[in-house]
Symmetry: C2
Subunit: 200 residues, 2 copies
């Protein structure tokens, strides 16, 4: 597929024209409901990247962690370096570690009240509900209540929801949905354990 | 799918046992070659999240940006707040903006030399080659050379390579590959333009 320089220049010029015309056709701005789901890695990590990106724009960020373990105290300490970021780790460990449904429901409810407070406060530009999907999956919170609250968010507020198994109704309501699809994972294939900087 | 509390506790106990036994079987530690590819969002953003995660662990990070635009000056300024992060923005804009193949090849080569230098330096724990896949896609760098250099990396060094259309040979060589799959995007469906904090 080697091309001459002239062919290449022509191809790139066409590509640029197509790109420019597509961009010109888009002029709407709105706060988005964003979902990161799927079995692969990168759901929480990409949300963390969005937090940093938002800080780079001087935006105010709220982040609520529904399930402990997705972020370590080290990462929480990094977020604490940013006065723009209001970070709350509410989870008490994965549910298969507690085996107490009513306690898990109460924990989920506490985290959700924090997200609701942020959504009702117009000073937040970006709100991350990390691993909320897991809580919805176990029926610890009703998805209808989550959708109801999301429908009240500010017109320019972005809300990011992460976790496997996003409910269909949430995908339906969302503006931007990405499925992190696992192609290859060294846990399974090479017996490699979770490592700092990669898994946590 | 509502379960009684007892059924739930039993199910969670089984899940925990299965999880514990899987974790116990994995004891290898190694530096990973990690690829974020696919058409969806989150490839660069998740790499950015990994940078923050690594900083949280006191790791030293190198990041080379092959294509300008994936990160803004605002984000670069955030990274500059971390002395642990050595960030280089080498790209001169997407190739369809320059339309000059030989210049693009020289730019790609310059960025790659920076990555090679980091890979040869054992003080880096995590190295991100952001949008390297795009450069490989346009044959601006030979994939064989990239694989050759990756094979010389330190045993505990993690290297993250992002961008659409990762070459098959790179996926073959990688340990951890995630495809960010686009499920829903407001560009296409709602005419929403690229917005700060989300796209850049």
């Amino acid at each position: 597929m080697m091309r001459t320089d002239a062919e290449h220049a022509e191809r790139m010029a066409k590509k640029k024209a197509a790109q420019d015309s597509k961009v010109a056709a888009r002029d709407a701005e709105k706060g988005l409901i964003i979902v990161h789901t799927g079995k692969g890695k990168g759901k929480t990590t990409a949300a963390l990247g969005m937090v940093i990106r938002a800080v780079g724009h001087g935006m105010r960020v709220g982040m609520v962690q529904f399930v402990k373990g997705a972020m370590t105290t080290g990462e929480a300490a990094v977020l604490a370096r940013f006065p723009e970021v209001d970070f709350h780790a509410m989870g008490e460990g994965f549910t298969w570690n507690t085996q107490d449904r009513s306690r898990d429901i109460a924990t989920a409810r506490g985290a959700w009240e924090e997200v609701k407070r942020m959504i009702a406060d117009p000073s937040y530009d970006l709100i991350v509900a990390d691993e909320l999907n897991i809580v919805l999956r176990y029926d610890y919170l009703p998805v209808d209540e989550v959708l109801e609250v999301l429908s009240t968010k500010g017109a320019m507020t972005h809300v990011v929801i992460t976790g496997r198994n996003a409910p269909d109704a949430l995908i339906e309501a969302a503006d931007l949905v990405t499925d992190m699809t696992q192609v290859k994972h060294p846990f399974r294939e090479q017996g490699v354990k979770a490592q700092k900087g990669v898994e946590f």
